[in-house]
């Protein structure tokens, strides 16, 4: 009976950890997306300083969460998101405004996909 109780507790702990993981991924991607949105709006309003500041905040959040993301999320997805961050940084420094919305959209979409991948649903389970 002790083994069964131990297994039930372990299963509950795994479920609790997976709920924590969903919330952590939601919070992380949510905060980054907010910064990116502000950065994009500022860039379109020609406020490049604020746009870069917000972008830097988003990038910092992404990079500082590596100890979490590397353990819980698939590495190819993380590498792709990191590449997109550096691509956006390049475009921001270049100041090519016409290309920026697409780069922002790509990064936002990818982060959204990472968030969604942690949520159980028909699409993600099957």
């Amino acid at each position: 009976m002790k083994r069964e109780i131990g297994a039930a507790l372990l299963l509950l702990a795994l479920i609790a950890a997976s709920v924590w993981n969903i919330r952590r991924a939601d919070r992380l991607t949510g905060e980054i997306l907010e910064h990116l949105e502000l950065s994009e709006k500022a860039m379109l309003a020609a406020d490049t300083d604020y746009a870069e500041e917000q972008f830097e905040a988003a990038k910092r959040l992404w990079l500082s969460a590596r100890s979490y993301t590397r353990v819980f999320l698939r590495h190819p997805e993380l590498d792709a998101a990191s590449d997109m961050f550096y691509e956006l940084m390049q475009e921001l420094q270049r100041g090519e405004i016409r290309a920026l919305p697409a780069v922002y959209a790509r990064l936002r979409y990818h982060l959204d996909c990472i968030r969604e991948m942690e949520h159980p649903g028909w699409g993600t389970v099957f």
Binding site: A7, L14, I15, A17, V71, R74, H75, P120, V125
Partner: protein, 226 residues
């Protein structure tokens, strides 16, 4: 992580169902849920090892989940006969009082050749000597011959056989197993005396020594250089 747990659950129960429908022949001396876990775990463990792009957690979480399912299913099936029957099935009697049950054979996808092969494995070459043949839930076939085909027992022959119990290992590769010595009701002094009687000085010279309840011993000496 949640998806990994849900997917593991779906695959575990799907495999359990599939193997249950496939019949007992596939199992090969393992219970159904053990077979499912064994066939999944090796593959689950190998993926994060081969691909460093997969987090270790993606390999560990399903293994832990499977462990939990297995322990819980085994525990619940101990408590509920209905669940046990549902998950693992019931033993099937393929031969009853010497008659092959063709319906059971068909239900278990057991051919006559396979039945005869299994019987031969157990030293039964003549089907007419088989009273019962039961296909267990772990895929093993147990056979009960007709009484006339059974070898006579000492009781039936009126022979008295002394009960000497199971021999226990007293010395293994030069080391004395104190626990076994004590269980046999002997002590170090008895062992020294026994070795002296066999012209041996100490336990180090012995590779294996077993003793039964009647005090009869078997000794294998250590070979030089072994």
């Amino acid at each position: 992580m949640a998806i990994v747990i849900i997917r593991t659950g779906i695959i575990y129960f799907a495999l359990l169902l599939a193997m249950r429908l496939m019949g007992k022949r596939q199992l090969g001396e393992m219970e159904l849920s053990e077979f499912v876990v064994a066939s999944l775990i090796a593959d689950l463990a190998s993926h994060p090892l081969q691909d460093v792009g997969i987090p270790m957690a993606n390999g560990l979480v399903p293994i832990l989940t499977l462990f939990c399912f297995e322990v819980l299913i085994a525990g619940l099936s101990m408590k509920s006969i209905r669940l046990r029957t549902l998950l693992f099935g019931r033993p099937s009697t393929l031969v009853t009082r010497g008659v092959i049950d063709q319906r059971e054979m068909h239900a278990n996808r057991f051919t006559v050749d396979e039945l005869l092969q299994e019987l031969r494995k157990q030293g039964m070459f003549d089907l007419s000597q088989v009273e019962y043949a039961v296909l267990e839930t772990d895929g093993r076939l147990n056979v009960i011959p007709f009484p006339a085909a059974l070898p006579p027992t000492a009781d039936q022959m009126g022979v008295r056989v002394p009960d000497v119990g199971c021999p226990l290992i007293v010395i293994s590769e030069g080391r004395v197993i104190e626990k076994n010595l004590k269980a046999l009701g002997h002590d170090a002094e008895w062992l020294r005396e026994e070795l002296r009687r066999r012209k041996k000085r100490e336990a180090k010279e012995i590779y294996l020594m077993t003793v039964n309840r009647a005090g009869q011993s078997y000794i294998a000496e250590k070979e030089a250089g072994a």
